[in-house]
Every structure is written in C-alpha cells, then in structure tokens.
C-alpha cells in the first residue's frame, strides 16, 4: 500500500471528495489541513505542484487537481463501475456535480455585493432545482438507491459532498426530491461513511 497524504485547507471544499473516497474505501491517509487564509503562505503555495490545493502526495510524489485524485482513488479501490459504459455514466454524474459546485463557488466568493445576491438567487431558484431534477431522474431510473448499479460509487460521493451546503441552507427544497434525500441517507448509513461523518470536523464550507 503506498503512503498517501492529502494537503488541503481546513475545510471541506474541493478536498472533501478525496477524504470521502479514502474513507469509503477504508484506505488510510495522512492529512495536512491548512488554515485558510491565515496559513496559506507563499511557502505553502510554492510547495504545491501548481500553487493550489488540494494535492495528494503518493509515496512523496505530488499530484494536483481534486477530480484527478478522486478518479485515481476510485479506480484503485473499487469505487467505479463494472464496465466502460457504466464508468462513462458515473463520470457524467460526477461532472454534473462539479458544474453545480463551480456555480456555487462563483456565487459564494463573489465580492460585489449586488452581483452576489443575483448569483445566489439564481443558484437557489434555477441552478439547484435543475441539478436536483437531473439527480432525481437518474435515481428513479436506477431503482437501487445508488446512482449506478447496486452499490456505492464515486457518483454517490460526489453528489453527497456537493449537496452539503444546500442541504443545510435550503432543506425545504429537498421535499421535492425524495429520491435524492433517500440516496443521501443511504450513503450516510454505510458503516465507513457513517463512522467518518460522525467524527468529521464541522466547517462552514
């Protein structure tokens, strides 16, 4: 087993998918959690492959990009599907989640107060329902409670961390997406995920 060390900020953000993958797979990993922004120094940036986090050290070699890291762990430790077409489907759900996450990031970090209100309103009234609608449809077609096949895959984990903020902030919306809620609860009931979430540090994002 290689030695793994995740370097990211002390929050969920774009690092959480990596943590979820390792935990779901039952694979041990070390972590460096950088306080943002106070500890995000020039020295830390220079240590990163492309001056950003997360990056994963695998036996000392550094690899950036959360999507690349998550896919690697999923492939390595059985969180993908059983066929190329199933993996194409799983990657589609993951990519959809990243699209929504990126839209949320743009709204959350918008500095212009008026623009921020505009973006957050659009997020809540358009982007989120659209995204949840797609997920509800996929889960309805799946029938297993998981996004693909009969078991947990990267798709379930990607959706879980992506919906964390909106699930907390807009619980009422979720009444219209029962299968999404069911999937969330199902994922959280899996022993390794349950254990991880029960001890996970609570952060704003």
């Amino acid at each position: 087993m290689p030695s793994y060390k995740l370097v990211y900020f002390d929050l969920r953000g774009r690092g959480e998918i990596v943590r979820l993958c390792f935990n779901a797979a039952g694979v041990a990993f070390d972590e460096e959690r950088i306080d943002y922004p106070s500890a995000w120094t020039e020295e830390k940036k220079a240590a990163a492959p492309f001056r950003e986090v997360p990056y994963l050290e695998i036996d000392g070699k550094k690899f950036a990009q959360s999507g690349a890291i998550a896919s690697f762990i999923a492939r390595q430790y059985g969180l993908y599907g059983d066929s190329a077409l199933e993996n194409l489907f799983i990657d589609g759900v993951v990519a959809l989640s990243v699209d929504y996450f990126d839209t949320w990031v743009r709204a959350y970090f918008e500095e212009d107060a008026n623009k921020k209100v505009e973006l957050e309103t659009k997020l809540k009234n358009e982007d989120l329902p659209k995204f949840l609608g797609h997920l509800e449809k996929v889960l309805t077609n799946s029938g297993s409670g998981f996004f693909s096949g009969q078991r947990l895959t990267l798709a379930d984990l990607a959706v879980h961390h992506t919906l964390e903020v909106s699930y907390r902030d807009f619980p009422d919306i979720y009444a219209n997406y029962p299968k999404v809620v069911e999937n969330r609860k199902k994922v959280e009931s899996l022993p390794r995920i349950k254990s991880y979430l029960s001890s996970r540090k609570v952060t704003e994002i």
């Binding site: 492959p49 492309f50 690899f63 950036a64 990009q65 959360s66 999507g67 690349a68 890291i69 896919s71 690697f72 492939r75 390595q76 190329a84 077409l85 993996n87 194409l88 489907f89 799983i90 990657d91 589609g92 993951v94 990519a95 959809l96 990243v98 990126d102 797609h134």
Partner: protein
C-alpha cells in the same frame, strides 16, 4: 467496436476534443451537428438537456469530461495504468481551470472595454501562468515530447485544442514555451489528426 455518434453544435467548443480523438485513432463516428433550429427538438432527448452527447450503440451519455474520459480509455489515449491515467487527469484538470477564463472573455463579457481588458489579461497573464504549468509537466515527463508517458494521450490533444484559439489572437503566444511548441507539432504530426486538420473548416 460499438457504433459511435457524437452530438454537438456546429462549432469546436466542447466537442472538438472528441472529434480529434476519433480522428487520431482512425475510429469511424457520426459527427452530428446541431443548429439553433435543430437543437430544440433534440434537447429533451438528452440526458441533462445539454451538448455534447455521445451515443454508443444507441445509448445517450452526457457531459464532455465523461465522454472524453471514456473515448480516451476506449481509443487508447489514457496512458498505461492508473498512475499515468492520474497524470492525464491532472492535465485535464488544469485545462478545465483555464477554460472558464476563456469563456468569460469570448462568450460572457458584454462590455467592450472590459472585454478588451480581459482579453489582454487572458493572452498575457493567464496564458503565461497556465503555459508555464504545461511546460513544467512536459519537462517532468521523461520523454518531454508528450505530456504523459511515451506517446499521444488525451492530455496532448486537450492542450492542443485549447491553445488553438489563443494563437489566432496572438501568433507568438506559444513561442516562449519550447516544449509546448514542440508538443503541438507532435500532435499535428499524428496522421489522423493531420488529415482532419487539413479538412477542418
């Protein structure tokens, strides 16, 4: 081999990397292109109301990133093994970080003055930042001719495709990056890609 049909608009955009990979591999595919008039009828049939869509033996799959990953794996452009796949994905990730900067300039910014400002920033500051990263990855790869391993992968093709429109705006943009420049020539020397580029409008 399955029957492939790529559904996209009649532009390069988020479909071109798939077209390049099909051509590089010499893999036959239906290149379906939608216009403003023909898109509305197809939209409700797509998985997520968007293009591109890849049709594999009649089944429809959405999301360009997912489609590219699948084609790269099927057509042999993902390197060898999980570590090389990770390296290809790292380059994909970098390109995906750069794309929004291009979209903002070319498609979103309406104010002409702001647009000119952003274009300047894109062609100078942003391009320098990302091309430096690309150059770094090429340098760190033993062969240095390709981004990953010893041969053409999706990483080379994706970077090639994203740099193209920038060269149109600033012909010398790749010149300060010798490995990147040489890599472009390597991509263009693939027979399938060379033939496709000749015929591409």
């Amino acid at each position: 081999m399955p029957t492939y049909r790529l559904h996209y608009f009649d532009v390069r955009g988020r479909g071109e990397v798939a077209r390049l990979m099909f051509n590089a591999a010499g893999q036959k595919f239906d290149d379906v292109r939608y216009t403003k008039d023909t898109w509305p009828d197809f939209k409700p049939k797509t998985p997520f109301g968007q293009l591109p869509v890849l049709e594999v033996d009649g089944k429809l799959f959405g999301q360009s990133g997912a489609i590219f990953n699948y084609l790269a794996r099927e057509l042999g452009f993902y390197g060898n093994g999980n570590m090389e796949a990770l390296q290809v994905d790292v380059v994909m990730g970098l390109v995906n970080d750069f794309i929004p900067l291009m979209i903002k300039v070319f498609f979103q910014e309406q104010d002409e003055t702001k647009k000119k400002e952003l274009l300047e920033k894109l062609l100078n500051e942003d391009a320098t930042k990302f091309f430096t990263y690309f150059e770094k990855v090429l340098k760190e790869n033993k062969s240095s001719e390709y981004f990953v391993g010893k041969g053409l992968t999706m990483a080379d093709i994706v970077v090639y495709d994203i740099v193209d429109p920038l060269i149109a705006h600033k012909a010398t943009i790749v010149d300060p990056f010798p490995l990147l420049k040489a890599n472009r020539q390597k991509v263009e020397s693939n027979p399938g890609i060379a033939a496709y580029l000749k015929s591409r409008k």
